[in-house]
Symmetry: C2
Subunit: 361 residues, 2 copies
C-alpha cells in the first residue's frame, strides 16, 4: 500500500511545489483526489486567504469526490483562520479516506485534523515521504515549531576555504553563474542580513539584481554602534530598498546622520556575544519575516553558527585556491574536533566549474 | 566520420583502461580492428616488455586484418624499445587505415609513427577524444614531456577549509569510506611524499592499508635537518616498507640514529624556498618513480603549489565545519586574487556525506 500512497503523494508534492513563493506565510501543500485508481482532481495552496490545497482539489472534483481518497502532503487544518477548516470540506465532500504525508505541528492542528476526520468515519493514514515534505516546507515548519524565521547562511569560498586573498580582494571567487544563483536565493527570502562592517568593507548593496519580477527582501544590518558609512551604497539606496538596522548603543551623531537617510533603526539588547541574536530573530518574526539569508563576515557568521541559529547552510565554492589566512569562521569557538558543527544531510550542485553545497545540521 | 571514429576509439579507451596499473612506465593503450563495419579484434597494452595494444589486437585478428581499419588510442610507436615497432606490425598485417586518438609526444615517436604508416600507403587520421585520452594517460604524458613524475596533491578538509580543530585534533575530518578511497589512490602511485614534521605531528605511516594485493609505494620524506623522530611509526616500519628521506644539512647524530633503522637518506641541494623540489622530483624520476602523491602540511604543500609542480589536486571534504585558524595553504604566497591558483577542470564525486574533488590547473 505504501508504494501506492507514495506514488500519489509524490504527485501532491509536485503540485505543492508550483505554489512555492505564492502562499505567504502559509505552508504550500498539494492534494490529489483519486477514485477507482483514477486521478480525478489536483489542487494546491492558493494565495494567502484563498483556498487551501484540499479545497482547491475538492472544488475541481465536484460531486465525483464522494467515496474517493484524498492524498495531501500536510495534515488538513481543522480551525478557522483566513479560510474555514479543510476538514469540514473533506467531510462534506464525502471523502472516504485521507492519506497525508506529515502531521502539521501547528498547535491549532497537530493531529486534531486527523481526529476530526476519523470522528466522521474517514480512514486516515499518515507518515509518507516525510523527509521530502519536511524539506519542502522547511520554512513553515521552522516558523511554527520555533516561532522564528528560517535562517539560511550563505558564503562564497575558494576551495581552500578563503573568502578573500591576502590583500582583501575577492572579486571574483565564484563565477557569474554562481552569483546569479545567489540573487535567485535572495529573491526567495523575506530578509537579507549582514553587518555594518561588511557593508563598509565591500560596499554591499544586499539587494536582488538580475532576477525578473523579483520582490526585494528587507535588508537588515546588525551594527551595534551604527558605524555603517552614510556614504555606502547600502545607506544611499535606503529610499529604494526597505532597510533596517539593529543597534545597541550608538553616538547621537551616528543616529542623526542615518536618520535623515530614511533608514529604520531599532535599538536592541546585547549580551556577552554582542547584539542579542535571538531577540533580533524574534523581532523580525513579529514583523512577518519568515526566512532570512545571512551574508556576513567572520564575526557575525560565527556568532549565529555558534548559537545554533542556522537552519540551512549554502556554500558556493569557486574554481581556485587562494592560500593565506583569510579563512572563514575563524571566530567559531571550536577547540576540539568533537565539538565540530556536523551536517546530517549534504547535497551538491555543480554550476560550471563552481560548486554549490547545501547542508543541514 | 568523426562520430564513427569516436565510437570505436571510445571502445579502444575502454580496452586501454583494463591495462591501468599493469603496464609499468608504458602508456596504457587500447586498439580495435574493424572490417566492413564489424569489430574483428580488440587489444590492449600487455605487461612491460610484452605486446603493445596494436600487436595484441593484430595477433587476435590474424589474416582477417588485411584491408581493415585499426583504431588506437595513441599513435603507434616506430622505434625499437623492449618490443619491435608497432608500425612494422601494422604494415605487415595489411591494415588500410589507422585512426589514432592522440599523437605520442615521446620524441622517438611524435608524428614519426604516422609518417611511417603514410609512407606505406596507409591512411592516417588523428585527433579524437583528445581530452579523455590525455587524462587516461596523464602520468605517461607528464613523464614524457616534463621528464619528471606526475605529481598529485591530496588533502582532507572541513567544509570551511580547515585541516584540524584549534587543538590540532583531526580524527576524523573525513569518513571511513573517504579514507578507504585515499588508500586506493595511494596504491596507484609509485611514491607517497610528506615531511618529517608531518610524521612527527601525526605519526603518519604513509603506507597502503586495507587494499587487497596492493603494492606499497616508496615512502618519501622531505626533512632538511633529519628531525623525524626515530620513534615514529614511519621510521620503525622502515624495514617493512621502502623509505627514503631527502635532507640538506643535518647534525651527525641525526644521521647516525636514522642510519641504523635501515632508512635510505639522500642529501640534496636547497634554495631560498628550502629543499630543491625540482631536483628531488628529478632524482625520484631517475629512480623510476613515475607518479607521486603528496600528503603534507602547509609549508611543503604551499611550496609545491607555488612552484607549479602539482599536476592534479584531490581534496576530500568532510561533513563538518571546524572554524579557527588551522587553514590549509596559509603559506601560499598569493597577495591578490589575480594571482590565485585557478583550475581549468574540476570534477566531484560524492562519497556518502563526504565529497572528493579532483582538479587540474
Amino acid at each position: 500500500m505504501s508504494t501506492i500512497n507514495e506514488k500519489y503523494l509524490k504527485l501532491a508534492v509536485r503540485e505543492a511545489e508550483k505554489s512555492r513563493g505564492h502562499t505567504g506565510s502559509n505552508p504550500f501543500v498539494g492534494a490529489i483526489v483519486v477514485k477507482d485508481g483514477e486521478i480525478i482532481a489536483r489542487g494546491r495552496t492558493q494565495a494567502m486567504g484563498k483556498d487551501h490545497a484540499e479545497v482547491d482539489a475538492l472544488k475541481k472534483a465536484g460531486a465525483a469526490a464522494r467515496g474517493a481518497t484524498l492524498y495531501v502532503s500536510l495534515e488538513p487544518c481543522c480551525h478557522y483562520g483566513k479560510t474555514p477548516p479543510c476538514t469540514d470540506a473533506i467531510i462534506a465532500a464525502g471523502i472516504r479516506k485521507v492519506v497525508a504525508g506529515i502531521q502539521d505541528p501547528n498547535p491549532k492542528v497537530n493531529g486534531k485534523g486527523f481526529q476530526a476526520l476519523r470522528e466522521h468515519g474517514i480512514t486516515v493514514e499518515c507518515g509518507f515521504l516525510q523527509k521530502e515534505i519536511s524539506r519542502q516546507n522547511e520554512i513553515y515548519l521552522t516558523n511554527i515549531t520555533q516561532q522564528r524565521p528560517f535562517v539560511i547562511w550563505k558564503t562564497a569560498l575558494s576551495l581552500d576555504g578563503k573568502y578573500a586573498a591576502q590583500d582583501g580582494s575577492s572579486q571574483w571567487i565564484t563565477s557569474d553563474a554562481s552569483r546569479r544563483e545567489v540573487h535567485k536565493i535572495r529573491a526567495q527570502v523575506d530578509a537579507i542580513l549582514s553587518s555594518g562592517r561588511t557593508v563598509n568593507l565591500d560596499n554591499a548593496m544586499l539587494n536582488v539584481r538580475g532576477v525578473s519580477k523579483a520582490r526585494q527582501p528587507l535588508r537588515v544590518l546588525l551594527d551595534s554602534r551604527l558605524r555603517v558609512s552614510p556614504l555606502s551604497d547600502f545607506v544611499r539606496s535606503a529610499k529604494e530598498y526597505p532597510s533596517l538596522i539593529f543597534y545597541h548603543a550608538a553616538p547621537l551623531k551616528n543616529i542623526l546622520s542615518l536618520d535623515i537617510t530614511g533608514i529604520e533603526m531599532q535599538q536592541v539588547p546585547s549580551n556577552d556575544q554582542g547584539l542579542d541574536l535571538q531577540y533580533i530573530l524574534n523581532s523580525l518574526y513579529v514583523r512577518g519575516v519568515r526566512s532570512i539569508l545571512i551574508e556576513a563576515g567572520d564575526t557575525l557568521s560565527s556568532s549565529f553558527i555558534a548559537q545554533k541559529l542556522i537552519d540551512k547552510y549554502i556554500i558556493f565554492y569557486g574554481d581556485l585556491l587562494l592560500g593565506g589566512d583569510k579563512a572563514i569562521l575563524k571566530s567559531l569557538p571550536i577547540s576540539n574536533i568533537s565539538q565540530a558543527i556536523r551536517f546530517s544531510e549534504i547535497s551538491y550542485k555543480k554550476i560550471g566549474n563552481n560548486l554549490m553545497l547545501t547542508a543541514y545540521p
